[in-house]
């Protein structure tokens, strides 16, 4: 599903370059649950942003579902993002002034889905994640675990083939974290490819394999 070859990312810094990622070559197959680990500043989140098409300033070759992302323009990359990818963030990133229902509706609204169909999809996800009773609440009226649950629900609502999760349990206590990880496991079992960034060894165990990064390099 994902094929990276010699991906590099750097910033111009004075007279030289500061590399964030160095020669990353990596394959992720469809249906895999991959964990990216490494110390802070290793380039984990940056790699995740590149995989999610949020970051376009890199060099190397990147194939997503056999499409050469490195040859695509921004619009085409956004299309891939919309079609295949869902995001889960450490700090949930729900929109404060929208209700749970409206937060779930956002990704669908960007995919030109008709409102009646969207309503059906949102209700389906609310039901699937057992948050129907919370649909009219605002994010600040939910606990951290509930907010992340909504964030995961939002990530899967458009039926992505790939979920990218950046420290999804980082702000949660262990019970809530476990619940979320079980959810990811379930989604993966149902066929969704998952790439997560985590510092937690426990969470890493949910994945099929672990990729380690250090100072921007891929290490075994």
């Amino acid at each position: 599903m994902i094929r990276l070859h010699n991906i590099e990312k750097y910033y111009e810094a004075g007279y030289g370059k500061t590399f964030v990622l160095r020669r990353i070559t990596l394959d992720i197959k469809e249906g895999e649950f991959v964990t990216i680990m490494g110390p802070s500043g290793a380039g984990k989140s940056t790699l995740l942003s590149i995989l999610g098409m949020l970051d376009g300033a890199w060099t190397g070759e990147f194939y997503f579902a056999e499409q050469p992302v490195h040859k695509l323009n921004t619009k085409q990359r956004v299309e891939i993002n919309k079609k295949y990818i869902g995001f889960v963030f450490q700090s949930y990133h729900l929109i404060d002034n929208l209700t749970v229902y409206e937060n779930l509706d956002i990704p669908l609204s960007y995919r030109n889905i008709k409102s009646a169909e969207r309503a059906g999809m949102v209700c389906d996800v609310l039901d699937r994640f057992h948050i129907v009773g919370k649909k009219d609440l605002f994010p600040n009226q939910l606990s951290g675990g509930q907010q992340q649950l909504v964030a995961v629900a939002r990530a899967v609502i458009a039926n992505p083939k790939l979920i990218l999760a950046d420290e999804p349990t980082g702000n949660l206590h262990s019970a809530q974290g476990k619940e979320i990880m079980e959810l990811f496991k379930k989604l993966n079992d149902e066929g969704t490819t998952i790439v997560q960034v985590t510092h937690s060894e426990t969470n890493a165990q949910y994945g099929h394999r672990i990729i380690n990064l250090a100072d921007g390099w891929l290490v075994n």
Binding site: T46, S49, G52, L54, D55, T74, K75, V78, N81, K82, F87, F89, S91, H93, L94, I95, D96, N97, I106, P107, Y110, R111, R154, A158
Partner: protein, 783 residues
């Protein structure tokens, strides 16, 4: 309080950008208000500069169907004898004379007045004396300006001689610099004694041009009106032939002077008040943004024991200081603005020479500074003082609360609404102006030169002048008329048609009277529709003839041929096309054209020459002057204008009004645009994180752009809705200034709404582009 002022000044100094923008924005509003108020103060509020001016009135007689008119001289005498309400009644005749025996003869505005004029006004001269009852008629009181111009080196011109239209006058006094009576467009510089000709004393058809009067102390205007009403009734019974239907009107002199511009000035003051409100809303928005950024500071102050009122006071001190700073700048702007306005429009504003900054204006300025300072500062102050202490202490940069956001949106909506009202006002005036400009005048005005030739020549001399001017190469035709069209002048008279029953005066046919030479119609391209034009054969020795216009033919000869019909004013020999004589917004009235050759007395005040040329008329001026001097070297020529200038001048009041309204609407639009930009820009900066999330979730550049622009359009749209309601309520006051446009003209409303929509999109485009360029990775990291 001193501490508050010190902190406030320090705070403002530390934010020079904010302070400069806020002061400049407020100064625009306060300066414009001060400029217009200084005009309102000089024109409307300041009493006329005469002794006890509240007792001065103007007398007129009313006669159906003409309405208001001049007082018949014998009637005036009867009023004087029989009335007990007045100290004095003075007849006067405004005019102009040629000042001769100087290098270049000059036309001077004069007033011939009964000798009690200055005593009635209660004004003393700065040199010499004013009229005495036993003064001969060849004395003159001169204005200070005239004295400076013509007797510059002479410490006292009293006793000097001047020549007016060939007649010698002795200067007996010099009036103070700003003295002016009566108030009229041309600045009067000479006052000469006047008494009615002996035949006036008993002929009630002779009218004194104007009559000013002074009420006795303690006599109200209503009591005087009642008394003169009774006397008029008595005269009506006594002289039914001449006085049937005559009444008296008494108008306070101040109303006569400023009445015509009162409404315009008050509407302008209202308009400029709206501009100030827009300025205030803009600065309130800036202060709200600043209050958000200062949430932490406020929280710390509160934590250290500052009460809510104390915090509000601190914020208000800042806003009042801002307003006072703006006030200082506004004085300069108002002075400059007023001078500029008077430079272009002094002739259109009565008492313009009395306009200036005085203590009333400064009090007004101080008042609006304090009121606006508190007005725009109160909401941000309360908003800041109500901020949550705990949250505030946690904030590092401050984050807008929903309530504060709504307030800011509300202020922008208010700005757009106010700008909408002003733009609709300006739009309606613009449409009126365009309609008037497009109104067919009934004349050919291209390549037509006009000028006024002073009186004193025999009627036959005008025909001679006409012929001489026509011979100038490049001249197509030339003719004289007593008054050019579009001078806001009318002279109405009765006429009777032979063979029709004689009606009482109220029902007798009425027409505007014009006195012209034969070439006039050709020179102005006024078509002859029936019969013949005037010719050289129509002389004082031949039976009187007249031409009538289409409107008269339509009204009084609807189903018959008027040619050959006899009237008491002459036989109708031709019908000519209608011309807008009084003004472009009034339909042509029935008119009678008399040949000057048969009405020599009508040339006393001179005649206006109309020259139709084959080349740009400006090129003919010197040739026409030379030709006239060739025929009569004593003639003085003035008011040299093209006919198109004459038409433009007839629209100059509306033009000025339109410019000012347009200026204020433009200012409001500019401020509202800045307001929209500020609010949207601020909202974008506050929503960077949210925009990042949306982009991570699949929002494209256009989605973000659309989201921001939608918000901009919603703000503008709500503003337009409120503005429409406001404009519907307010534009009615403009009804009397409009022509062929309703105050609720849908096209104007729609055009202004579209304009505001476009401006809102432009104002929102920069922040929207910024928003759509947000890097989601950075935005999410920003959290």
């Amino acid at each position: 309080m001193l501490n508050d002022i010190r902190y406030a000044m320090r705070g403002l100094r530390r934010n020079p950008g904010f302070t400069a923008i806020a002061v400049a924005t407020l100064a625009l509003g306060i300066g414009a208000n001060t400029a217009i108020f200084s005009i309102v103060n000089g024109v409307l509020l300041r009493p006329l500069p005469f002794a006890d001016p509240g007792r001065l009135v103007q007398l007129n007689e009313t006669v159906a169907p003409f309405g208001i008119g001049a007082v018949a001289y014998p009637d005036l005498d009867d009023f004087r004898r029989q009335s007990t309400s007045f100290e004095a009644m003075i007849a006067y005749v405004p005019g102009s004379r040629n000042l001769q025996d100087i290098a270049e003869p000059e036309r001077i505005a004069t007033v011939a007045a009964e000798r009690g004029l200055f005593r009635m006004l209660g004004i003393e001269p700065v040199a010499g004396r004013t009229f005495r009852d036993d003064d001969p008629s060849n004395v003159v009181v001169i204005g200070a300006g005239f004295a400076k111009r013509h007797f510059a080196g002479d410490p006292s011109p009293v006793g000097s001689k001047i020549t007016l239209d060939g007649e010698g006058f002795t200067v007996i006094g010099v009036m103070p610099d700003r003295f002016q009576f009566p108030y009229r467009a041309s600045h009067t510089e000479l006052w000469i004694p006047w008494e009615p000709a002996p035949q006036w004393a008993h002929n009630r058809s002779y009218h004194a041009d104007f009559v000013a009067a002074r009420l006795k102390p303690g006599v109200g205007i209503d009591a005087a009106r009642n008394e003169l009403g009774v006397i008029a009734k008595r005269l009506e019974a006594q002289y039914p032939d001449t006085n049937r239907g005559r009444g008296v009107r008494i108008t306070p002199l101040s109303d006569v002077v400023v009445g015509p511009v009162r409404n315009s000035l008050l509407v302008l003051l209202g308009a400029v008040g709206l501009v100030l409100l827009v300025s205030c809303a803009n600065v309130a928005n800036l202060l709200l943004a600043r209050a958000t950024a200062r949430t932490r500071e406020v929280a710390i102050r509160a934590a250290l024991g500052a009460g809510r009122l104390r915090l509000i006071r601190q914020f208000l001190t800042e806003s009042v200081l801002l307003a006072l700073g703006a006030g200082l700048l506004a004085i300069a702007m108002a002075t400059w603005g007023t001078d500029l306005l008077l430079q272009f429009a002094a002739n259109q504003i009565p008492r313009s020479w009395e306009i200036g900054l005085d203590w009333h204006v400064l009090e007004f300025l101080l008042g609006i500074c304090v009121i606006t300072g508190i007005g725009f500062g109160l909401a941000p102050a309360i908003s800041a003082a109500r901020a949550d202490l705990q949250t505030g202490l946690k904030e590092t940069s401050g984050r807008a609360s929903a309530g504060r956001g709504r307030l800011r949106d509300g202020l922008v909506v208010a700005e757009v609404s106010l700008a909408f009202v002003l733009l609709v006002g300006a739009g309606l005036l613009l449409r009126t102006f365009l309609h008037l400009q497009a109104t067919p005048t009934g004349m050919v005005t291209e390549n037509v030169l006009t000028l006024h030739v002073s009186g004193g020549a025999a009627a036959s001399r005008y025909r001679e002048l006409e012929e001489r001017v026509t011979q100038i190469p490049g001249v197509r035709a030339a003719g004289f008329t007593q008054f050019l069209p579009l001078q806001d002048w009318n002279w109405t008279g009765h006429f009777t048609i032979d063979g029709r029953p004689r009606e009482n005066p109220a029902r007798q046919p009425v027409a505007e009277l014009r006195f012209v030479t034969p070439g006039y119609f050709h020179a102005l391209g006024i078509p002859l529709l029936k019969g013949r034009g005037l010719t050289d054969d129509d002389t004082s020795d031949t039976p009187p003839v007249i031409l009538i216009n289409e409107a008269l033919a339509r009204q009084y000869f609807p189903n018959e041929n008027p040619i050959g019909r006899h009237t008491d004013r002459g036989t109708i020999v031709g019908v000519v096309g209608d011309v807008h004589q009084a003004s472009l917004d009034r339909a042509p009235a029935p008119e009678i054209y008399h040949p000057v050759a048969q009405n020599a007395a009508q040339t006393d005040s001179g005649m206006s020459l109309v020259v139709s040329a084959k080349l740009p008329p400006e090129k003919l001026v010197s040739a026409v002057r030379a030709a006239i001097h060739e025929v009569d070297p004593r003639q003085v020529m003035f008011n040299v204008k093209t006919m198109q200038r004459v038409i433009a001048d007839s629209l100059s009041d509306l033009n000025l009004y339109l410019w000012l309204m347009g200026l204020f609407a433009g200012l409001a639009l500019l401020l509202a645009t800045a307001g929209i930009y500020g609010v949207v820009s601020y909202a974008v900066s506050r929503r960077t994180h949210e925009i990042g999330i949306r982009m991570a979730l699949g929002a494209e550049r256009w989605d973000v752009l659309g989201m921001v622009l939608r918000r901009t359009l919603v703000l503008a749209g709500v503003g337009v809705v409120f503005g429409t309601a406001g404009a519907l309520a307010v534009t009615r006051v403009l009804a009397k200034f409009l022509f062929d446009v309703k105050p609720t003209d849908p096209a104007t409303f729609a055009a202004v709404a579209a304009l505001l929509g476009c401006v809102a999109v432009l104002a929102g485009l920069i922040p929207a582009r910024r928003a759509s360029g947000v890097d989601p990775v950075e935005a999410l990291r920003y959290e």
